[in-house]
Symmetry: C2
Subunit: 147 residues, 2 copies
Amino acid sequence: MFRSFMQDALDQAREAAEAGEVPVGAVISRRGQIVARARNRMVELGDPTAHAEMLAIRTACDELGSPRLTGCALWVTLEPCAMCAGAIAAARIDRLHFAASDPKSGGVVHGARVLSQPQAHHICEIHEGARADDASALLRAFFAARR
Amino acid sequence: MFRSFMQDALDQAREAAEAGEVPVGAVISRRGQIVARARNRMVELGDPTAHAEMLAIRTACDELGSPRLTGCALWVTLEPCAMCAGAIAAARIDRLHFAASDPKSGGVVHGARVLSQPQAHHICEIHEGARADDASALLRAFFAARR
């Protein structure tokens, strides 16, 4: 049965919610295989940089034994912030797929637009919107329950 | 004898160069005391996110037992990239002091200008230029030796 990488990222987001973390999940794929899965762990680790994307990038570099993730795609349930977008560029990830867009804190198609700066020495394809409704529903339910 | 925090950051940068890493060092201070020191460790850790600032932020959060570095200042020898600028905002650091500016990869006063976006939910004071000549000299010597 076909299972999309974004579905795996959504499963990670759901796990994050169950652990009391803002539900964002990420997956890194290479040649059709998943090389890293991660979810937000800011609360658990007491680390403001422990976003799903950052952890997935570090895991994938470990897994592949390289600080360059050329040939890899990152699938994440929410538009990355400026920090994570910068990490995507630093890791030379070829393709970014994000589900929900984030006008408040996103740094890819909003705000700092880190991957679209003329300065960028790396070209990353950007794909937006796949499973956006599912990703947003997870976030809405999480914040509604905390109010 | 007065010793500036930027001098400590420069010492970290020098250590990075000796270890074969791009010479950038960072220090985080709070109420006049250093709470974290770090230098680039990208090569050592095989991790493209292991910039001095990222490691200093994670160390300071550990040290202070908080994911918020309110009341802290970050001293770094080179203008932070977009990733590190995003981490500075995520950690709620109050003040950033950087030495050399980085037109090519900087994300504070160049490129994405992450800390100056209208979107930013956090105000970080930016101070530029202290010990810029010393920080640039370290970088120039490092890259000249590798050519």
